[in-house]
Structures are given as structure tokens and as C-alpha cells.
Symmetry: C3
Subunit: 139 residues, 3 copies
């Protein structure tokens, strides 16, 4: 069994945003030498997400509005008295809706994807350095 | 290490629907010869889902209504000017709520499941052929 | 390839609640002897969740309110005529928002986590015994 690990560094300038990281993951799969196996791609942060979707700017703009409806920024009266970082509570919630991680099959040395599948990083508390983990196991 | 891959073809006649695919996945696990490992089951489409739940028609009817509340079909005024497929934006959103994939443990050659766990395919843009990927790795 | 399996027993007294199970998973990873691989941690029930987040009591209180807003307990008029367990339909929905499982990389014999990442069990139909599965594969 082979294994491979890489961290990738990201820094989205905006508080929220989406970024296609598929080509980086493909490069890692090539470097790993694994032809049959699994690759796990996850955010190393609790306020950002890795998910699979079409890479489509217009779709991401719809997500931006939708996620704010489903998991809105807390209004002043909703804050606790504890200083737990209430100003990013919604970032945690948005990340749960979109998910922390994806596991993708590797077949014949490539990501085993359908036509529109791309690996997208979703940032919900940006403007600072973040990291994504890529772990490959297989043969 | 062993690996195994199979695609299964699905075609739900309705725009949205749910289908229990557990027995097909079990058959694949048997064919793989893997007794200890993991099986990844994922949709190869960005508007459908694979998740674990009780196989219960009444539950799925509740989901149908709930998902339309959480991630409604866009109304005319919400469409962008870009022609990005706004008419299925809600299908992408519903799929994120339910998830793209499941990873299930294989123990003693069988799906390592609790009493009510079944693998369900959730369709949010049906009426056409779709595919699900089953990838097994282990020994 | 090595594999390892353990079930852990949980019993949260309340109907809903959150519990940090990271140290138990870490102990399992040590017992497995796997230094490079993956660990899958999933609920064996369809009304509870395993997810990754900061272990923060105040955050969990926010989730409690938020999940009730996104996936509320059904009101009397929303019940079906079928006796499908409508009184816990919302427990299934809340679990889908938070997810069934996490897959975590193992590197150098440890959970390969970012600074705030912890493995949290989320209960949405408690007051009775529940089980979580930990499955490790790797070398």
C-alpha cells in the first residue's frame, strides 16, 4: 500500500468565496504514484469547506445568497454572553451545509469523476491564510 | 491491497425521487473479494446524492417537502442573466444538503451497518440516465 | 494493509446533545498500529451524526437553535397518516444537515488535524443507547 500527503496553502482575499482546486489535487494524485485507491481532500479549518460541484461562477453567486438565507450572520440580539466568536458562528453553519471533505476514487491514476465534477474550496471566513489537506492511499 | 470499481446506471422517471441501492452495493462488495476495507459510493452527477438513511417511503415524502422549503426552486426574479442553468440551481443546493457520497466500512466481507442503515440514491434532476460509482479498497 | 474496527457505546441523557469523541478515536488509531491511512468514524444510527468542529459549548447551543429553525420538529398538521415515526422525522433531517460520518487522514500514527478540529458526536434522538463505528485502514 502506498500513501501520500500534501498540504496546500490558500488565501482568499474576501470573507467568503469559492475556488476550484481540482488541478492541484490531480497533480498530487500523479505525484503519489497511486493508480487505484482513494483521495481524501479536506479543509484543515472549521469555517471552510471542500465539496464537489460544477465550477460555475453564477452558481457560486446563488450559493452566496442561499447560504446567507439558510445560515445567516447572527444579529446583535442573538449573540451569547460568552465571547465564543459569535461573529463567525454562521461561518461554521455554512460550512456544515456544504461539508468538510470529499473522498474521491482514483482509477487508472486519475480522479474518477463524472462530466461536471470538480473539487471546490468554499471559504466562509477568509482574508487570512488557510490550508487544505490532500491524503492519498492505494496501490 | 485489492481494489474494485463498478458504475451502476439509474434512470428515475420523475424530476425528484429516492431509491434504495443497498443490495447492489452489497453485490459489488461480494464481487470485490474484499473482507476488510472501505467502500465509497458516490453520484457521478452534481444534482444527485448518495446518503445513508432508513428506507421509508413516508420519510422520503417528508424530505421532498422539507428540501423544497430549505432550497426552493428559484422564482423567475431570482434568475441570473447568464444562462447558467438557473432552473436546476435548486437541484445543486438540495444535493448539498443531502451530500454527494458515503463511505461505508466493510467488515467480514459485509457492509458494516447499524440496524436501519441503507444506502439511498437521491435524485434532484431526474428523467434522464444517471450513474453511481462504487469503489472498494481493502484486503 | 492493516485494518481495525471498534464500536463505541454512547448514551446521551437528553433528546439532543453534542459530545467530543476525539480522544477515543485517537486511542483507536494508536491501538490499530496504523501510521499512514484513513479512519472512518460514523454513527450506526440514522438520527445521529459524526462531524468535525471546534469543541465549544456556546457553539453547540447556537446549533441547537439553528437546527430547530432549519429542520423543525413537525407540527401536528404535518404528520402523515402512516405511522412512520413522524415524531423523529426532524431528527433524520437534522442529522443530514450535520452529516453521518467523517473520514480523517492518519499521518505519523496520529489524526491529521488542523488546530481546532475535533470529532463531535451529534445526537438528535437520545435518551437511549447508541453506537459509533471506528474503522481504520492503512499500513
Amino acid at each position: 500500500m502506498k500513501s501520500y500527503r500534501k498540504e496546500i496553502a490558500l488565501h482568499l482575499p474576501s470573507h467568503r468565496g469559492f475556488l476550484n482546486i481540482t488541478s492541484t489535487v490531480e497533480q498530487c494524485v500523479r505525484e503519489s504514484g497511486v493508480t487505484e485507491g482513494l483521495v481524501l481532500v479536506n479543509s484543515l479549518h472549521v469555517t471552510s469547506s471542500v465539496f464537489v460541484d460544477d465550477d460555475e461562477e453564477g452558481l457560486f453567486r446563488h450559493y452566496e445568497q442561499w447560504l446567507e438565507k439558510v445560515a445567516p450572520v447572527l444579529s446583535a440580539g442573538d449573540y451569547s454572553d460568552e465571547g465564543i466568536g459569535d461573529d463567525i458562528v454562521d461561518s461554521h453553519m455554512k460550512r456544515h451545509v456544504m461539508g468538510r471533505e470529499v473522498t474521491v476514487a482514483i482509477t487508472n491514476g486519475r480522479l474518477d469523476f463524472g462530466q461536471w465534477e470538480q473539487i471546490i474550496y468554499g471559504e466562509f471566513d477568509g482574508g487570512r491564510p488557510k490550508r487544505v489537506l490532500i491524503k492519498v492511499i492505494g496501490q
